[in-house]
Subunit: 303 residues, 2 copies
């Protein structure tokens, strides 16, 4: 069987206890070798206070929220989850090569403590205390791109602003024409080629770190913009919970590779120029949204 | 209901007979307005001699082959289709955010007239007679990018070479480590963010122009590289046919927007800077794989 013997994993689950590769600083390493040689300090656990579980009939989707970039939206989403606003809402839209989106299709579901609209959080100050690992390569959509707290970001040093980038698996808050009309009550997930033209036009709130295949493999809607034509085509979401509200034994403990370490820089390089035998031409470049941010089951730590 | 009121359609089916928009050369136009104002000369029918129908249980996937870029592979794929080599092969791989791939999983299916391996067709000369509509924007993976015969391409003027680019919906021929080990007997389709690092490393043979949602919505395989773990998880392909071998009444007549016209350049501009009311920040840039190449049902033409 002839394979396309190469993998680009947006989400990588690594075998635990893999032996360290023959890491050699002088020799280019594959991503698998970089990960195998990583230490515990190269990973961070998800913060359960800012982790969302979306419970679908087929399983759980785990979203890491981004309070550093969208504090108001993240707070509102957690409030809505806690008042069970999302329990029973529907995936109403599945547009090929664009987004999957869930919502209350009738807009009649009551909101008690949450807010129906919020001031936009399209960009934020590029404060010196915000981590930023710059990608060595350029980008057409922004002066600088890189990673902050495990998320793909763009930055404009002259304007002093930074913002999350619409890469695959990013989660955003749908809005109407009014910039301040979103709230997080309707959320979408990017399921195709990065729609970077949406950057700075809509508030991104986080990233799917596990279970995205449950959303991306949904049948596509056939109405305009990928909406399902008939209510019975929609998928109902059982519940959305903040991880910290879920009993410890029912959580999904995950670790995300830190993006502010030499290990992550080595990972980027392993993807800019692939030393794998299969490659004949090395790209010498990587586009922001092609850099994987590895996720793995959490290693049990001493209490 | 709050919408993310914008659509990026890799494949656009346009209503026929739509009224021409209030096209005004001085006013930026939306993509819908550009398409509505297009003339018959802005479109070309698919060439049935170089169109492949992949018949799945759920429907037909239509692939436009690229003989200008991969003549040997296209010829071999047509030969294999004509000897019914593909009838009954399986979708063996569905890797999230990467590729869907079909193959004879046991490698035992006989090949009569086709070839099991072929010399690679990773690049070709950038001959002056090959159409090339250059994208005004730069690209990190190649000195120049643009469109040729309705396909996304890259070009290196110094080397005098051009090649197809791994955008969403592009179709390629899987290979082993040997560059000349592919043949088109195993084909893959890009189902996620463009894996442009594969450019010049594997032979691309065409593009899905209709029905890609039948492939991209398949359940993801859970074995390494997205292979299905169990044979019963695979999807069997009923048949693969060259369109010209299918009775006229059973064909899928399609037209693709020409990519060498002022209309297509206007379409690009409508996506570089979106005049739609929803947008607050215009990107002023477009990445190659974000440019849609519209497809529509063929308009009946006078014989």
């Amino acid at each position: 069987m002839k394979l396309l013997v190469v993998a680009l994993l947006g989400i990588v689950f690594c075998g635990l206890g893999a032996p360290a590769g023959a890491a050699n600083a002088a020799k280019p390493r594959t991503m698998a070798e970089v990960i195998a040689a990583s230490s515990a300090a190269d990973w961070r656990p998800l913060d359960d206070q800012n982790t969302l579980y979306v419970e679908l009939p087929a399983g759980r989707v785990v979203i890491e929220l981004a309070p550093a970039f969208a504090p108001r939206h993240v707070d509102n989403i957690k409030t809505l989850a806690r008042e069970k606003y999302y329990d029973g809402v529907w995936v109403v839209r599945s547009q090929d090569n664009y987004v999957v989106q869930w919502a209350d299709p009738d807009g009649t579901r009551p909101i008690k403590n949450g807010k129906r609209t919020l001031a936009a959080e399209f960009t934020r100050p590029a404060a010196p205390d915000l981590p930023f690992t710059r990608l060595p390569d350029g980008d057409g959509y922004a002066p600088e791109v890189g990673f902050s707290n495990g998320l793909p970001v763009a930055r404009d040093p002259k304007a002093g602003r930074t913002w999350l980038a619409h890469c695959y698996a990013m989660v955003g808050a749908g809005r109407d024409n009014d910039a301040d009309s979103g709230s997080g009550a309707e959320l979408y997930v990017v399921n195709g080629h990065a729609p970077r033209h949406l950057d700075r036009n809509v508030t991104l709130v986080g990233r799917v770190v596990k279970g995205i295949e449950l959303l991306t493999s949904l049948p596509r809607g056939t109405a305009p913009m990928g909406y399902y034509e008939k209510p019975e085509q929609r998928l109902q979401i059982r519940a959305v919970r903040v991880a910290t509200d879920v009993p410890a034994g029912e959580r999904t403990p995950l670790e995300v590779m830190r993006t502010d370490t030499p290990t992550f820089e080595a990972l980027i390089e392993s993807r800019r120029n692939r030393p794998d035998d299969w490659y004949i031409v090395q790209a010498g470049y990587i586009e922001l949204c092609n850099v994987p941010i590895p996720v793995r089951p959490a290693v049990a730590r001493a209490q």
